[in-house]
Every structure is written in structure tokens, then in C-alpha cells.
């Protein structure tokens, strides 16, 4: 089929439309990330797409130090979503050094390297 698309393209196309979808295994019920053609937990191959709830916590974080003239310091972190999957991202809206482990964060679709990307902001209390 000429219009067939794989898991990566499916995820990226949804992201381009502002939607964060997560793959979930029909057999064991576990989520996984990154998208792929099988479940890395039970190795089943029936995968459904679920809209992410968008809530998570910073699992670990670092500040990439960069000279101001090159754009300055920025955050890189790994977020664990409530669905149980982890992804690399960054937290925006606060200084990169203020991002802390276990901080509750909310996902949004922003832009990274000129393409749509999952980013996070600190959750409202």
C-alpha cells in the first residue's frame, strides 16, 4: 500500500497536528515509548494508539552549558509520564537549572530543531 505508514510516522503525523499519542499493547496493556512495531514488554505485535494524558514527573535532569553567544544554557531531561513511559525532553518556562527531579510537569506540543516535539512545562499547583 502506497499510503501505509509505520509507527514512527504515525506518531510524528499526530504530533504535527498537535496531538501526543502513545503506543499501548493490546495484549499486556502496557504502554511503551518510543513507537515500534512490537511491545518491548511482552513482544506482542497488536498495538493501539492512545492519547497521552500529558502528566508526568521529571525523572532526571541536566543543564547543557553553552556560551551565551551560541544561545546560552538549556535543559535536557528525562520525563516519566503517568502512563509509565519515559522520554527525553526539556522543561520550558523556568530556568534550566530550576528543573528538579520529581517536579510535576505537563506536556505540550512545541518545536525542537524546527520540527514539532513533545516539550514540558511545570504543572500548575
Amino acid at each position: 500500500m502506497q499510503d501505509a505508514i509505520g509507527p514512527d510516522q504515525f506518531f510524528q503525523r499526530a504530533l504535527a497536528e498537535g496531538e501526543i499519542l502513545l503506543p499501548k499493547c493490546d495484549d499486556c496493556g502496557a504502554y511503551h515509548f518510543f513507537p515500534r512495531v512490537l511491545c518491548p514488554h511482552c513482544h506482542g505485535s497488536a498495538i493501539s494508539w492512545m492519547k497521552a494524558r500529558g502528566k508526568g514527573r521529571v525523572h532526571t535532569t541536566t543543564v547543557v552549558r553553552r556560551k551565551p553567544e551560541r544561545g546560552g544554557d538549556y535543559n535536557v531531561c528525562v520525563v516519566e509520564l503517568d502512563e509509565g513511559v519515559r522520554m527525553m525532553s526539556r522543561v520550558e518556562g523556568i530556568a534550566p537549572g530550576e528543573v528538579a527531579i520529581d517536579m510535576p510537569v505537563t506536556a505540550f506540543v512545541g518545536e525542537a530543531e524546527g520540527a514539532p516535539a513533545v516539550l514540558f512545562k511545570p504543572s500548575e499547583r
Binding site: 514512527d8 515509548f33 518510543f34 525523572h59 532526571t60 535532569t61 541536566t62 543543564v63 547543557v64 552549558r65 538549556y74 535536557v76 531531561c77 528525562v78 519515559r86 522520554m87 527525553m88 525532553s89 526539556r90 537549572g97 527531579i101 520529581d102 525542537a112 530543531e113 520540527a115 516535539a117
Partner: protein, 383 residues
């Protein structure tokens, strides 16, 4: 490796070349000089080599490139690329190939000119698609996030991380082959330029040129060479992920598994090991591997390394050549853990020679804490 292979192979030659800056040389030049040095150490010639174990950072068919460059036609090659751990991993495949008669003289070899060529890590590896958009600085950001998590869970401090670098420098200061031999204090490490919180540039390995090589034969002819043989008593690998975001527990590496199986094959315990050579690409590595290999309990690595306890004269000799932090780190450091462990056992270590070493451990790390390979080496007395 299973216990059936314990002591079936031996290292009979080690060599290195281009430590620090190898001006005017390509990575393959440094590789070839290292091969010649190790073969010379073993009293062998390149034409004797019929098993080649090699990977390089530059391209995707490095074992073929190396064989062609060396002018040899090996009947067995292994170019498995698991990052810097590859060269410790080759101890297993070389032992298997030698034992099965697939080759008679195994050459493990590596070379790099990354410092003089570019001044930073050279790699043909592509950034992972789901991480690259966030611009992590590879590989520092990954190790920084592991360190941050270890500090969060166990209260490990930046001072304890710094003490790993200070201990490595103290060993290096006594090693004329080491690249960085100037004084280094805890305050120097803490006050150095921050590159990826919580790691400063002194928490990070060197960027040097350099190559290393190891010659192995079957144990039954290992005593026919000029240098005392160093036997491979156990070696084991475990790989857990490729991308740091996929690491299940940022404070526990697969070294827990590779170490347990290597110790079981060798029939020894951490308490028996007299020299510990760990892949210290970053200061957090040493702490993680001391814990995961069983030299201390999980979470106690920070206290274990504090205040010179792994420095010369401390409780455990760790990275006796100065490690990747102060001796040499040409992109992939793994082969140098094996070379230093072997030289400590042979009694011809270039720096501080420990007394009567019969058992040493070499531990390789690859990727971003992704691939862990542990080897236990022993003298004739341990067979």
C-alpha cells in the same frame, strides 16, 4: 564465558601507541603502530595473526579496513561494536575462537586520532531519533543525568564525584605514560567549567589520541612467549539499552549482571581482586561500577571513593594507570583497562606497580552506560 573456558586463553602481548597527541597520523596509523607494539611484546609477527578483533569510530567496516591496512588475511574476525566495551568483549570471542581452533593468534586492536583530528569525540554513530531533537550533548548529558539521579537517590555529593578524578590524577602523576600529570585537587574539580550539571570538565574523561593492542593465544602454548602469560579466567557481558532515556534504573547498570557472571566463571569474589581497572569516562562511572561489581553496596559508592580511598595508598587500587580521566581516552577506552590489568599481573605496569598481583579486574562500558563487560584476569598462580 562459562567456567569451562576458565583459563583457556592467555594474553601474551600488550602494546600501545600515540598516547596524547599523534600528530600527522590517521586513526588507522595509530591502530597499526599499536598492533606492532603488542606483537613485538609477544615476540610475534603480523603474519602470525589469523584472528582479528577490531572496531574503530570512523566507519562501519573497521575490521575489514584494519585487516587490509595491516596486510593480513585473517580467518576469523569480530568487529562487534558495543562502544568502548567492545575490546573487553573481544576477550570472550577471542577465547571462544582460540578454543575452537578457529584461529591460533588473536589480535585485539584499536586506534584513534580524535584529539589532533577534531579535538572532540569522533563517531560514525547516529544520534537516536527520539533524543536528537532535544540536543543532549553526547555523551556527557547522559552521564550527567545518571549522576543527578544517583545524587538524588543516595545523597552522593559533587565532592565525592570530584574525589574520583583526584584519585585518578594521583595514579597518573606516577605514570610517565599518562597524558595529564599536573596537580589536581577536589577544589580544582568543583571549580572547573561546568559542562553538564552536575559534571564539570574535570569530571569528564580526556580527549586524547591513542591506540592499544592485545595478543592472545591458547593457554597450552601461553608459556612459550617472552612475557609471563596473563590468563582470562572469566569474562561476561550484559547490555541494557542504547538510548539513555530507555535506561530502566539510572543508578544501576548491567555491570551487576556482567560482573556476577565473570566472577562466577573465574571462581573468585571482589575481595580477591588486587587491581581494579574500570572504564571511567566520567567520575560517576567509577562509583556506579564499584557498586554494581560488588566492591561496595548500592548507594555507598560515594562514601567508598571519598578522601583518597581509591587513590595510591588507599583501601582499593582503582585505575592504577590514571584511567580515562587522566591517562588516556581516545574515544574508546576499554582496551586500556585490559592492558593495565595485564601489566599489573605481569609486573611491568608503567606507573605504580602493585606488589604480587595475581588477580585483576578489567571492566568495559559502552554507549551511555548501555553495554557492560567484565573480565577477570589472573597469573599462572591462579590456574
Amino acid at each position: 564465558m562459562t567456567i569451562e573456558l576458565r583459563g583457556k586463553s592467555a594474553i601474551v602481548g600488550t602494546g600501545h601507541a600515540g598516547f596524547g597527541e599523534a600528530h600527522g597520523l590517521t586513526a588507522y596509523d595509530v591502530m597499526a603502530q599499536s598492533a606492532l607494539a603488542a606483537l613485538g611484546d609477544a615476540g610475534l609477527k603480523l603474519s602470525d595473526v589469523d584472528g582479528l578483533f577490531c572496531t574503530m569510530m570512523e566507519d562501519s567496516m573497521p575490521a575489514l579496513m584494519a585487516a587490509e591496512y595491516l596486510g593480513i588475511q585473517p580467518r576469523f574476525i569480530d568487529g562487534t561494536m558495543s562502544g568502548g566495551s567492545s575490546f573487553v568483549n573481544y576477550l570472550t570471542s577471542a577465547t571462544m575462537a582460540l578454543d575452537a581452533g578457529l584461529c591460533d593468534v588473536a589480535l585485539i586492536v584499536y586506534g584513534s586520532n580524535q584529539r589532533t583530528a577534531s579535538g572532540r569525540l569522533v563517531t560514525a554513530s547516529r544520534p537516536p531519533a527520539y533524543e536528537a531533537p532535544y540536543n543532549p550533548r553526547y555523551p556527557i548529558s547522559a552521564y550527567a543525568m545518571a549522576a543527578a539521579r544517583h545524587m538524588h537517590e543516595y545523597g552522593t555529593t559533587r565532592e565525592q564525584l570530584a574525589d574520583v578524578a583526584v584519585a585518578a590524577r594521583a595514579w597518573a602523576q606516577r605514570n610517565p605514560e599518562a597524558f595529564e600529570r599536573g596537580p589536581l585537587t577536589r577544589e580544582d574539580v568543583l571549580g572547573a567549567r561546568m559542562v553538564g550539571d552536575p559534571l564539570t570538565v574535570r569530571d569528564c574523561c580526556l580527549v586524547t589520541d591513542g591506540g592499544g593492542a592485545i595478543v592472545m593465544v591458547r593457554a597450552d602454548r601461553a608459556r612459550d612467549f617472552p612475557k609471563a602469560p596473563v590468563y582470562v579466567l572469566g569474562s561476561a557481558a550484559e547490555s541494557s539499552h542504547r538510548q539513555i532515556s530507555q535506561m530502566k534504573d539510572f543508578t544501576v547498570t548491567a555491570a551487576r549482571d556482567s560482573g556476577a557472571r565473570a566472577f562466577a566463571a573465574a571462581g573468585v569474589t571482589p575481595a580477591d581482586i588486587q587491581a581494579v581497572e574500570l572504564y571511567d569516562a566520567f567520575t560517576i562511572n567509577t562509583i556506579l561500577f564499584l557498586e554494581d561489581l560488588g566492591f561496595c553496596a548500592k548507594g555507598e559508592g560515594g562514601a567508598f571513593v571519598e578522601g583518597g580511598r581509591i587513590a595510591p595508598g588507599g583501601v582499593l587500587p582503582v585505575n592504577t594507570n590514571g584511567g580515562g580521566l587522566s591517562c588516556v581516552h581516545p574515544g574508546m577506552y576499554g582496551i586500556f583497562t585490559v592492558i593495565e590489568a595485564a601489566r599489573q599481573i605481569r609486573g611491568d605496569a608503567p606507573g605504580i606497580q602493585l606488589k604480587d598481583v595475581d588477580l585483576a579486574l578489567a571492566h568495559g562500558n559502552g554507549g551511555v552506560l548501555s553495554s557492560q563487560v567484565t573480565a577477570i584476569l589472573g597469573s599462572q598462580n591462579t590456574l
